[in-house]
Symmetry: C2
Subunit: 177 residues, 2 copies
């Protein structure tokens, strides 16, 4: 329901192409929003039809042309309206927990191997987020103040990933006995 709003929030900060948005979701905002390129392009099309955003074609030498989208006044208003209303709590569907819950149907090794694989990916996400945090902390006070709210969302990612890893360690220790 709100991929639309996630896109608008990013475009409100800076004009981007669909490709840029997808990359941004993947490399930085995975703890926050996930979407496939097909879905992003579709929403960009719909938002353009509704005149919440517009685009200009940028031709590049050496690279394919791209459409750089920016938010319109109508879009900024729509986004403001959405942001002023309460949001629904985050829906959780965690297949790994389903697997663990029914783990007696497979081997302990399989469970531990799967956990180890997920742990690796969470570790690399955390590392990435900590790097972004370091960059933020090196900014001057003005810039830090300017990016305070995005930084707060980054903190959610960091605290969340640390908690996930803490849990995984506990599970590993408990199951290894």
């Amino acid at each position: 329901m709100s991929l639309k709003h996630a896109i608008l929030v990013l475009l409100e900060t800076e004009p981007s192409s669909g490709y840029d948005l997808v990359k941004h979701f993947k490399s930085r905002l995975g703890y926050f929003w996930n979407a496939k390129h097909q879905q992003v392009y579709l929403q960009l099309k719909k938002l353009t039809e509704d005149e919440w955003i517009t685009f200009k074609a940028h031709s590049q030498s050496n690279k394919p042309d791209k459409k750089v989208y920016e938010i319109t006044e109508l879009g900024r208003k729509g986004l403001g309206d959405w942001i002023s209303q309460p949001v629904k709590p985050n829906k959780i569907n965690d297949a790994l927990l389903v697997k663990l819950y029914g783990g007696h149907l497979t081997s302990k090794d399989n469970i531990l191997a799967e956990l180890a694989a997920h742990k690796k990916s969470h570790e690399s996400v955390l590392e990435n987020l900590l790097n972004i945090e370091n960059n933020y902390l090196e900014l001057n006070k003005d810039k830090q103040a300017h990016y305070l709210l995005p930084y707060m969302t980054l903190r959610r990612g960091i605290i969340g990933e640390k908690a996930w890893l803490e849990w995984a360690d506990e599970v590993e220790k408990t199951l290894s006995i």
Copy 2:
């Protein structure tokens, strides 16, 4: 893709009606799986058609009849196959973070009010999970061993909720300055 498997995992533990499953998701397993009753009934229908589960009608005095589903051998096999294969990492789409990211488009009071509302709901979820944990810890060693894997998933809920609340406190303190 795996509401199906979430249902099977619960039925593998104990036969239940659709209503029971929904209640179970709502009251205990919200940190792990969420689904609407319509979606649950639909999956039960499909699983029955595939002969992964069967049901018996239970007529009750004072209450409507219900269909009590149980897993079949075919279902147990299908579930085992799924559990032995790697699961995809949990997809996160967190509208509250989108709102916070674009929080400059609304008032600080609105953000803090919204955060406070979410905090309340996370606090009550945590309280509920801690009660379930206490019940588990009062079981004898044999029963504790028997429910070890579901308990590990419960720990994920507890650690996750605590981390969420820790983050919310940090945001409150930072924004209140």
